[in-house]
């Protein structure tokens, strides 16, 4: 069963066309990577899905075209976007950030047990539960950003550059936790990542974007180590 299907999606920032026709298919419980150099349109593809940029083409989630829906309605459908730069609420405590993540939910018990689950998944956050998010390290903020997204009990997680600006060991810890989340929850994922090797530890398949278009799509096993992947990053 396909959970999310992008067909020939286009997007503009003002007069500049950033996506020239991106396609993507995410099966239920699947994880798909979007790879490519800076400016290839990876982040914009995620923003088209979460409706934070106006898009053309077709974006079908769970059988419904969701193009033109408001961002908060998209979230209510079960799509959680972890944006580039993390987007945590700096002046709120870690616990408050998690409660904001659960804004649409009414099940108090479920929320409490999911907070416990997040703290188990990211033990670093446990000691920082009453600290303001702005006082956390970069790695902890990234963990909080993912945890906040989990709190909405999404069916699809959009992860944007979760390793950006992190030390390699921290980036690995974040991806280890997300992999565990994937196994335990079955949440489907679209993963944008500069670090292709890190992405391949998480996703089943991936597509490579170049100037707003798919140039290569395949399973992780097929893509790993291919010259095109290297070329996409080095721009050569």
């Amino acid at each position: 069963m396909t959970l999310l299907e992008l067909e020939d999606v286009t997007a503009f920032y003002g007069p500049v066309q950033v996506l020239e026709g991106v396609s993507l298919s995410v099966p239920e419980n699947g994880a798909v990577g979007i790879l490519g150099a800076n400016g290839a349109g990876k982040t914009t593809t995620l923003r088209a899905i979460s409706a934070t940029v106006r898009a053309g083409g077709r974006i079908v989630f769970d059988g419904k075209d969701i193009r033109g829906t408001r961002p908060d309605r998209v979230a209510a459908l079960g799509i959680a976007h972890v944006p580039e730069g993390r987007g945590t609420f700096g002046d709120l405590s870690v616990r408050e950030n998690l409660r904001v993540g659960a804004y649409l939910r009414k099940d108090r018990k479920g929320i409490a047990s999911d907070i416990d689950y997040c703290l188990d998944l990211f033990p670093n956050l446990q000691d920082r539960i009453t600290s303001n998010a702005s006082a956390l390290s970069g790695g902890e903020q990234q963990m909080l950003a993912v945890a906040r997204a989990i709190m909405s009990k999404p069916r699809l997680l959009l992860l944007d550059e979760a390793s950006l600006g992190l030390a390699p060991s921290t980036a690995k810890a974040v991806y280890d936790a997300i992999r565990r989340l994937r196994v335990e929850s079955g949440i489907a994922m679209v993963v944008v990542e500069q670090n292709a090797n890190l992405a391949f530890t998480l996703v089943d398949s991936a597509t490579v974007l170049e100037t707003g278009r798919n140039v290569l799509t395949g399973t992780s096993a097929e893509l790993r180590g291919m010259d095109e992947i290297r070329r996409a990053y080095l721009g050569g």
Partner: protein
């Protein structure tokens, strides 16, 4: 000694008016990151609507309640049809828009109700009660108590409710808030509406003392801004305490420091701001914002 206590109590009462406006400023700032200079003007409009109703025989309490409801709608409407156009842009532009709105509302009030002073009936009796040998008007006590209750309600709203948390989240990062499913635009309307309600309460408290004119709260707005800066933008309790400090100090200075007197007492809060900002830039109760990347 009796004069001193009298001055302190009167100071608390006027300080409470500044506090109510200051709380409204904090609420809008918490929800949108903006300082709304039209807050006082909107409160005056609310007071005029209550006055208009009482002049037509509506009981005072009902008139004030009606003006509170009206204010909520007005605040929400101002957000929806005016401020929303500017919220995504340069914050400076949005602030200038609120200054323009203040001028507009003052003009409308003057046009509708003239610039003459109108008598506004008081919610509390002017009779004095004796307390420790000092006589204090019931109005002073009543005004102060109302503001204390409002302050705790607001603190509770921000700290203990889902709505308060959502308002804060929207102010900090509207995009992330939307990613978590928060209806950002509706929450902003609620924030502006609640702030206007606080203004309406302040207007109804102060109008009997100052008598109603379109510019009635212009001075109070200046003092309220001083309180907001002194108390720290993030703390309802902080701004109320700061507003009280300002109200009391200006009263005391006017009487006990001959150099200042009643003519210069308006300068007192600003000298205070100056000193506080040098020593504690985040305000007396504000939290230091730490930004880490």
């Amino acid at each position: 000694m009796a004069t001193f206590i009298q001055l302190v109590v009167d100071g608390l009462s006027t300080g409470s008016i500044y506090a109510a406006i200051a709380l409204a400023l904090v609420l809008v700032h918490q929800a949108t990151g903006l300082i709304n200079f039209a807050q006082g003007g909107m409160a005056v409009l609310a007071a005029y609507s209550a006055w208009w109703l009482t002049a037509r025989g509506v009981p005072l309490v009902l008139a004030i309640l009606a003006s509170i409801v009206l204010s909520f709608l007005l605040g929400a409407a101002v957000e929806r049809w005016l401020m929303r156009r500017f919220e995504r842009g340069d914050p400076d532009t949005a602030v200038v828009v609120t200054i323009g709105l203040l001028t507009l509302i003052t003009g409308i009030c003057g046009w509708l109700f003239t610039y003459n002073n109108q008598q506004f009936p008081s919610l509390f009796s002017l009779d004095a009660v004796s307390f420790l040998g000092v006589s204090v008007s019931q109005r002073s006590i009543g005004t102060t108590l109302v503001i204390v209750v409002v302050m705790f309600l607001l603190q509770g709203l921000f700290a203990g409710t889902k709505l308060g948390l959502a308002l804060r989240a929207v102010a900090i990062n509207p995009q992330s808030a939307a990613f978590s499913g928060l209806p950002v635009e509706r929450l902003l309307m609620v924030g502006w509406g609640l702030a206007a309600v606080l203004g309406a309460i302040a207007g109804a408290m102060v109008a009997p003392q100052l008598t109603l004119t379109p510019g009635m709260l212009d001075n109070a707005l200046v003092y309220a801004l001083a309180a907001v800066i002194l108390g720290g933008l993030s703390s309802p309790v902080g701004v109320v305490v700061a507003a009280w400090i300002i109200g009391v100090l200006e009263n005391l200075a006017a009487v006990y420091i001959p150099l200042i007197g009643y003519d210069l007492k308006v300068a007192v809060p600003f000298i205070l701001i100056f000193v506080v900002l040098v020593i504690r830039p985040q305000g007396l109760f504000g939290r230091k914002t730490v930004v880490r990347v």
